[in-house]
């Protein structure tokens, strides 16, 4: 069970995210790029709305991912490195509450960072009658789920690593997750050792499949993403988040500080 201190920690993460300059700067630049694309595509009749939706979704994806890595990697590890953890853990809070609180605060901050960019996208889709607003909302929700999974991966890594190592490993995990199909196929074709093939398969199933959360193409081409798919993907994300948070809390419980 997660206790009330986790929510206190989560709120503090939100306050921190709002007061540090990094997050507002990311949001500002993301919104600026989406807005400038909107105004530029306004003069390019014909393909403008598809182009705009494509660029906007890509910007949300990229800025969301960078925000997730930067924000989440510096939470738990930063607390250890700056030695503020001694004040926190001398209070009656369980370590797992701290880990989960950091995670919850991070995903809430990521949602607040993505919201203005998604809002601009929805506004132009609505006013230009460029497709279904609901589909845009579904797509941004799925992207946020991807960020939530990535944040859980980062928290699991931060439970034993420094901020910089955590950020590097999180990015690496993200890239390998995208390439895992190719890596597994390559191993199966070229490596004869059964252990390496099994290791590749284990990696395939353990690492999240971030492509499941990407419905950009559907949004751009006005295709409908079924609710059943959204539901299944939500459950998939929930399972991954639970798995990585479990790993993170277990490792952090044993960590010597």
């Amino acid at each position: 069970m997660i206790g009330a201190p986790a929510l206190v920690v989560a709120r503090q993460v939100l306050v921190e995210a709002g007061r540090r300059r990094t997050l507002p700067v990311f949001v500002f630049f993301g919104c600026a790029i989406i807005l400038s694309t909107a105004f530029l595509s306004f003069f390019q009749l014909g393909v403008e709305i598809k182009f705009f939706k494509d660029v906007a979704m890509t910007v949300i994806f990229l800025f969301g991912m960078v925000t997730t890595v930067v924000l989440t990697s510096t939470q738990l590890s930063g607390e250890v490195e700056s030695r503020t953890i001694y004040n926190v853990l001398s209070k009656p809070i369980r370590r797992r509450d701290l880990v989960v609180g950091k995670y919850l605060g991070s995903v809430a901050a990521i949602a607040l960072a993505v919201a203005p960019m998604a809002g601009i996208l929805v506004f132009f889709v609505f006013t230009d009658r460029g497709g279904s607003v609901l589909e845009v909302l579904k797509a941004t929700y799925l992207l946020w789920l991807a960020f939530s999974v990535l944040a859980a991966v980062a928290v699991a890594i931060a439970s034993f690593a420094t901020s910089i190592v955590c950020a590097a490993l999180t990015v690496l995990a993200f890239v390998v997750s995208y390439l895992k199909g190719a890596v597994t196929a390559y191993l199966a074709l070229t490596v004869r050792a059964a252990l390496a093939v099994y290791a590749g398969q284990a990696l395939y199933y353990l690492l999240p499949n971030f492509e499941n959360f990407n419905t950009r193409t559907a949004v751009v081409h006005d295709e409908i993403v079924p609710w059943a798919y959204v539901g299944r993907t939500s459950l998939y994300a929930l399972a991954l988040v639970a798995l990585f948070l479990f790993i993170g809390t277990q490792v952090f419980e044993e960590r010597e500080l």
Binding site: P5, Y86, S90, E254, L257
Partner: protein, 312 residues
Amino acid sequence: MPPVISVQGLTKRYGGPRSRDKVALQDLTLDVPAGEIFGFLGPNGAGKTTTIKLLLGLIAPTAGTGTVLGCPLGSVEARRRLGFLPESPYFYEYLRGPELLAYYGRLCGLGRAESRRRAEALLRQVGLWESRHLHVRKYSRGMLQRLGLAQALINDPDLVILDEPAGGLDPIGRREMRDALLQLRDQGKTVFLSSHILAEVETVCDRVAILHRGRLVATGRIGELLGGTHEMELTVRGSDGALAGHLGRLPGVAIRHGTDATVVVLPAQHLVYQAIDAVREAGGEIVSVLPKRERLEDLFVRLVGTPGGTPS
């Protein structure tokens, strides 16, 4: 009354089973009685901070057991009733003092209103209320130390563990810290004070424990540890040459000439009268006659030794 802190055979080694272990703490057995100020002393690397980390559950012991406030080491129940000021405390720089204390209060399970009320009271108590609008990053070293004391007291703890609380404080700040410690004892709280400032420890502590290279080398009431020596100390004024001539005849006497006075250390009390006669004969003036008392610093140096670590 049961001890507030009780540890038996507490040991902490760093390093893997195959590597050469570094023993940070070896077989520490210690009881800290309730309602006292307990000084925890030792040179750098003696194992003081390791002990505190073990008490708080920040690290796990290699061997040994213990309780804090009757609860297992590092348990949430123990931490609910204790406060901790780390050495050189660090805080979230983007928060203001009241926000920071309210956050720690919430972590201690206080309600929102209660946390704010306690935060204000403590900031006034440590003299930081006027700086309440400043972000913590603008605080001076001394202000951070006082804020650290305030956060340690946010839950009105029964036990306060302080790691070098006077670090970074000016003389007035040190005096205020000392008064605060005595006030905590008057309120019935137990203070576990790790400090390098031996004069301060001697002034405020009821008991001390001295660690050296991870081992406990002495513990007890300060009066008992320092004990009385048989030596007497006379402070006299007069002609140095004449005084030295007359006093030098006494067995085992040590004479130290200062700018204003001469200090004469006698090895036994019965020599006092002979020394007084000698001073009179030399035409000198007696300023004071006192039993020579060992100071905590003398005991510390005797047990722990030179900076190299060799006991004298």
